[in-house]
């Protein structure tokens, strides 16, 4: 350990000295850490050489204010998040135009297909869940007889059950930093019922949506830019952004579009080799199943290979399983990585595994609630304590989101008063999503130069578009990535917002976009015809 520290200190000094004698070094964009040390080192030198500058309090009066963009954390500047990037700003601008001057564009409304936000597009919440949440938010009405006329009997009963699990029935209090114990018991029971293997409530950390849980794991794992995290390409940009924010290196592995976005272990091996040759210590593997933006559902056999690979290479498996309820292909089934690894005979000691779940996806789509959890297994008690500590700095996740996470993992059962309405609502949403996915997929595949894998799961289609050279040149002239250019033309012509593939990563020279399957079903035909008409015109204009 001491040797390691000494070595590190030496390398810092060497780096800093190199920067000092090479004036170009520190401005190179990829050497942000060296420039940081350079900065630190020169400041340290300055206090010897120009003491007056550092010690008189008036000296800094003329310098620029502290929070200019030049002086922000370079990791913040570096990270990107395409789902809410440039294209969304354009969409918001167009929306304002439409409000101020109806008829100013060839469409009447903006259709946000950029983000998996179902309820913003008219999807209705599951009644039972909302009844319970409302009652927990305002428990003083539980005793009133009039309440029985407004709420279902089992929602009242469930609200009582949940309140009894909360110390003092106080839904307005901070909870345990991992989340309310009784709710974690319910979630663990739900996981057990799903997987057929035991789950421990102490392994559950409830979070404000799945994203903060991902951040927490990145913060724990990443020590410097020498630490790498394996991510699928294309990937959900939360991962690239979080890795950049925590100063690590994204190590890509490519999904194979030709085999329905297949994940090949041979590709993982190859990329691991390359990363190691570049001096990167790969720490963890992110798998998104069902895939975002790619929509594939992994086969169990494939998952076994992935588990085996992580175990052999000593990687933490970070399993993003937030779309576990969103399966549309009748021949596909979701298997959690925990179930797969347990069924292979690997227990807690054999493989560190984190599974992320969210209330934002599934059939419920409760994005605004910011509820979610991670199930953390195979971590030593000391490391677990560190996660607990980081969780406790934020005190706890929001209680409404915590309650909803427990409801999602234990919905009404056969025989409950609300079961029929619950299952009708759930099936209605999932069946409609499957139909929408199919309609959009077929429409995309009928377009010239466009091919689209089937959405087996999740909420997205990720078609490949073969853009004519003329269009690529036009994009270059507009200083845009070709797919970003296509997406902005599409938006300007139709009001449909999609995210360019370059925001997710793609094989160089290929172009894609991500489109959610979430607009309400009655709007799909109009989207299809607008999209088709636009694409035809676009190709007519640019065809080589």
């Amino acid at each position: 350990m001491r040797k390691f520290v000494l070595h590190r200190a030496k390398s810092i000094i060497t780096k800093a000295t190199a920067s000092l004698f090479n004036p170009h070094h520190h401005t190179h964009p990829s050497s942000s850490s060296s420039s940081e040390y350079y900065y630190y080192y020169t400041r340290t030198l300055n206090r010897f050489f120009t003491p007056l500058d550092s010690f008189t309090s008036m000296a800094s009066h003329n310098s620029t204010p502290p929070l200019t963009v030049e002086s922000l954390n370079p990791k913040v500047l570096k990270c990107e998040y395409a789902v809410r990037g440039e294209i969304v700003s354009l969409a918001q601008k167009l929306q304002q135009d439409l409000q101020a001057n109806p008829g100013s564009h060839p469409f009447e409304e903006i259709l946000y297909c950029n983000i998996g936000n179902p309820q913003s597009l008219g999807q209705q919440p599951i009644t039972f869940f909302r009844e319970v949440l409302a009652l927990c938010d305002h428990p003083t009405i539980l005793d009133k007889s009039e309440t029985q006329g407004l709420f279902s009997a089992d929602s009242i009963e469930r609200a009582w059950q949940i309140l009894d699990q909360i110390p003092g029935r106080a839904t307005g209090a901070y909870s345990h930093s991992q989340g309310i114990k009784g709710l974690r018991d319910t979630i663990a029971a739900g996981i057990e019922a799903r997987d057929g293997f035991p789950a421990d409530p102490n392994d559950i950390f409830l979070t404000d949506g799945a994203s903060p849980a991902v951040h927490m794991m990145m913060q724990l794992l990443i020590r410097s830019e020498k630490d790498g995290i394996f991510c699928p390409i294309p990937q959900y940009p939360l991962y690239s952004a979080s890795i950049a924010l925590h100063g690590g290196t994204l190590v890509p592995y490519y999904l194979d579009e030709a085999t329905g976005w297949g994940l090949e272990v041979s590709e993982l091996k190859k990329q691991l080799e390359t990363a190691r040759q570049n001096g990167i210590t790969v720490r963890a593997l992110v798998v998104i199943n069902p895939g975002n933006p790619t929509g594939q559902v992994l086969a169990e056999e494939n998952q076994r290979d992935i588990v085996e690979f992580c175990k052999k290479e000593g990687l933490v498996l970070l399993a993003d399983e937030v779309y576990q309820e969103n399966i549309y292909a009748p021949d596909k089934q979701f298997h959690s990585f925990k179930k797969v690894s347990r069924s292979m005979g690997y227990g807690d000691k054999d493989i560190p595994l984190v599974s992320f779940q969210s209330v934002s996806k599934g059939y419920h789509g409760e994005c605004g609630k910011r509820g979610g959890y991670m199930e953390v297994t195979g971590f030593s008690p000391e490391v677990r304590e560190q996660i607990y500590k980081v969780a406790s700095v934020n005190l706890c996740s929001n209680i409404s989101g915590q309650i909803l996470a427990s409801l999602v993992m234990s919905p009404p059962k056969v025989g409950d008063e609300s079961y029929d309405s619950y299952s009708a609502e759930r099936d209605g949403i999932l069946q409609s999503l499957a139909r929408r996915a199919k309609t959009l997929e077929d429409a995309l595949n009928s377009l010239e130069g466009v091919s689209c894998n089937r959405a087996e799961g999740a909420m997205y289609l990720f078609p490949r578009i073969r853009l004519p050279n003329k269009a690529i040149k036009e994009a270059e002239a507009a200083k845009k990535a070709p797919d970003a250019y296509y997406a902005s033309c599409l938006l300007n012509a139709t009001g449909v917002v999609v995210v360019p593939g370059s925001g997710f990563g793609q094989v160089p020279g290929t172009w894609h976009f991500r489109c959610t399957i979430l607009p309400q079903e009655e709007k799909i035909p109009a989207i299809v015809s607008r999209l088709t008409e636009f694409h035809k015109k676009f190709m007519d204009e640019f065809r080589d």
């Binding site: 350990m1 940081e36 040390y37 630190y40 400041r43 309090s57 008036m58 800094s60 009066h61 502290p66 929070l67 200019t68 002086s71 922000l72 954390n73 913040v76 990270c79 936000n117 179902p118 913003s120 999807q123 909302r130 949440l133 409302a134 003083t140 309440t147 006329g149 407004l150 003092g168 106080a170 839904t171 307005g172 209090a173 901070y174 404000d208 913060q219 724990l220 794992l221 924010l245 963890a284 290479e313 000593g314 990687l315 933490v316 560190p352 409760e366 994005c367 605004g368 910011r370 971590f379 000391e382 490391v383 500590k389 980081v390 700095v393 934020n394 005190l395 706890c396 929001n398 409404s400």
Partner: protein
């Protein structure tokens, strides 16, 4: 592979370095004792509802209706909910596309941000721009977002009051920056001495640290003091001269228990000072729904407001906010109700005022009961809790007690607090978790236990403390010093 990715020595050092005492050793021990069936009085966290404070009725009605919007169409809804809560719920639902179930704008719902801006405008007498207000999942998230944006590396320092709320030390460690302490003066009622500040900055610079920002907590946590206008002016001038961004933690602005120094925001003082400083000084102020009379900790609602921050920086902060998609929407609704409560003439007005006044008046009484109680104890001195939710008495530990702590392998105030917990069930936080001058010991309690329980709690504390002092006080011990 000999090393596993998650071996303890393989994880991020900054994570390991971070300390968060509010949920540390004492809290864990208290939870254990509770499981064993002992009655625990949790005064370690400013968590009013956990100690029996009832939520205000109106905000809960509004949020419940937003959760279950189908009730709004039910002809019987009026039997359970008052008309103004129904109208307010409809208003808030009209602010959203998709109700509580949709991600909002990453900065929060524009309609709520506008209400927050109006509240700030009314409070300060200067208009506020909703575009510069970001809603967050509680104030802690906001503080962390800003510190992450400011801190580039271990050469960047943040001035933090000591004693401080450990969120700051923990977040600074997590982001790999340097905490630059400035000591509050206990003998001057935890006042902030500008000369101490200058000294702290000079010391930090001597160590090669670039001081980037200064944190003030007003009213103070854990120290409870309310800053005067003059003191705030000095701080603002100091930050201006030294080129620091001022981070104003003002989450306790409604919790003031004396009348000489009412709360005044840093922003108001800044604008009252006029140009050039009012146009130049960079200020970020934080607020929450967890404190005040609302005390809705579990909802995780908060905001920060940026003053004189350049647009490009605001964009970067927006980008980081967008990676977490959006703050939780129910928490945003609570914030809306907090900043635009029922008005005179509304059906719920009287009840809202009765409930909120009741809470604040009772807290004021409890602040007195608690500080008086501490000051009646042997070897304990306590400044009056002028604001916030905490008392921070100094415990003058006899040398023998300090020795006993050492031989038990504990920091002296941790030792004292553990003994207190075991004897009385009162769960406090040792002063060492907040920082204190060398050789001086404190503890933090909240003033939140119910008013009717307070006399018994203080009696039980006194009984423990005085017996503890008798046990360890040894006059020969003092003569050796």
């Amino acid at each position: 592979m000999s090393r596993k990715a998650l071996d303890y020595d393989q994880i991020n050092e900054n994570v390991k370095k971070a300390q968060y005492a509010v949920r540390g050793e004492l809290y864990l021990r208290a939870s254990e004792l509770q499981k064993e069936g002992k009655k625990i009085i949790f005064t370690n966290v400013g968590n009013p509802h956990a100690l029996g404070q009832k939520p205000l009725t109106f905000p809960r009605q509004v949020v419940a209706l937003c959760q279950a919007p189908f009730l709004l169409d039910d002809p019987n809804v009026g039997l359970v909910f008052p008309a103004d809560a129904i109208a307010k719920a409809k208003l808030y639902l009209s602010y959203t596309a998709g109700g509580l179930g949709a991600y909002s704008d990453s900065r929060g719902l524009p309609g709520i941000r506008k209400e927050v801006a109006e509240f700030i405008g009314r409070r300060d007498g200067y208009p506020s721009d909703p575009e510069l207000i970001y809603l967050t999942d509680g104030a802690s998230k906001g503080v962390m977002q800003i510190l992450q944006t400011v801190i580039r590396g271990n050469g960047d320092g943040i001035l933090v009051p000591v004693p401080q709320y450990p969120l700051y030390s923990a977040a600074i460690s997590l982001f790999g920056g340097a905490l630059v302490p400035y000591y509050l003066e206990e003998t001057a009622n935890w006042g902030l001495d500008i000369n101490n500040l200058r000294q702290s900055v000079a010391d930090a610079r001597f160590k090669g640290i670039t001081v980037r920002a200064m944190v003030i907590i007003n009213p103070g946590n854990p120290t409870g003091q309310c800053l005067s206008v003059e003191n705030l002016q000095q701080i603002l001038r100091f930050c201006h001269q030294e080129n620091l961004v001022l981070l104003g933690d003002e989450v306790y602005q409604q919790n003031v228990y004396q009348d000489e120094r009412p709360f005044i925001s840093s922003r108001k003082v800044l604008f009252d000072m006029g140009p050039p400083i009012s146009k130049e000084l960079q200020l970020i102020s934080f607020h929450t729904v967890s404190k005040g009379f609302l005390g809705e900790c579990g909802q995780r609602g908060g905001y920060f407001e940026m003053t004189n921050i350049p647009p490009q920086t605001v964009d970067e902060i927006y980008k980081v906010a967008s990676i977490s998609l959006s703050p939780n929407v129910p928490g945003q609704i609570f914030m809306g109700v907090m900043v635009s409560p029922p008005k005179p003439g509304d059906i719920s007005y009287d009840r809202f005022i009765r409930e909120s006044k009741g809470i604040l008046e009772s807290l004021r009484k409890r602040a007195h009961m608690m500080t008086d109680g501490f000051n009646s104890c042997k070897n304990v001195v306590c400044n009056f809790t002028e604001g916030a939710m905490y008392s921070f008495p100094q415990i003058k530990l006899p040398p023998k007690a300090i020795e006993a702590a050492k031989s038990a392998g504990k920091v002296p105030d941790v030792f004292y607090c553990l003994k207190l917990l075991e004897a009385t069930g009162i769960s406090t936080v040792p002063g060492s978790g907040f920082g204190q001058k060398e050789g001086v010991f404190h503890l933090r309690t909240t003033i939140l236990p119910a008013e009717e329980d307070m006399p018994a709690i203080m009696a039980s504390f006194k009984k423990f403390n005085d017996a503890f002092m008798d046990q360890y006080e040894d006059h020969r011990g003092y003569s050796r010093m």
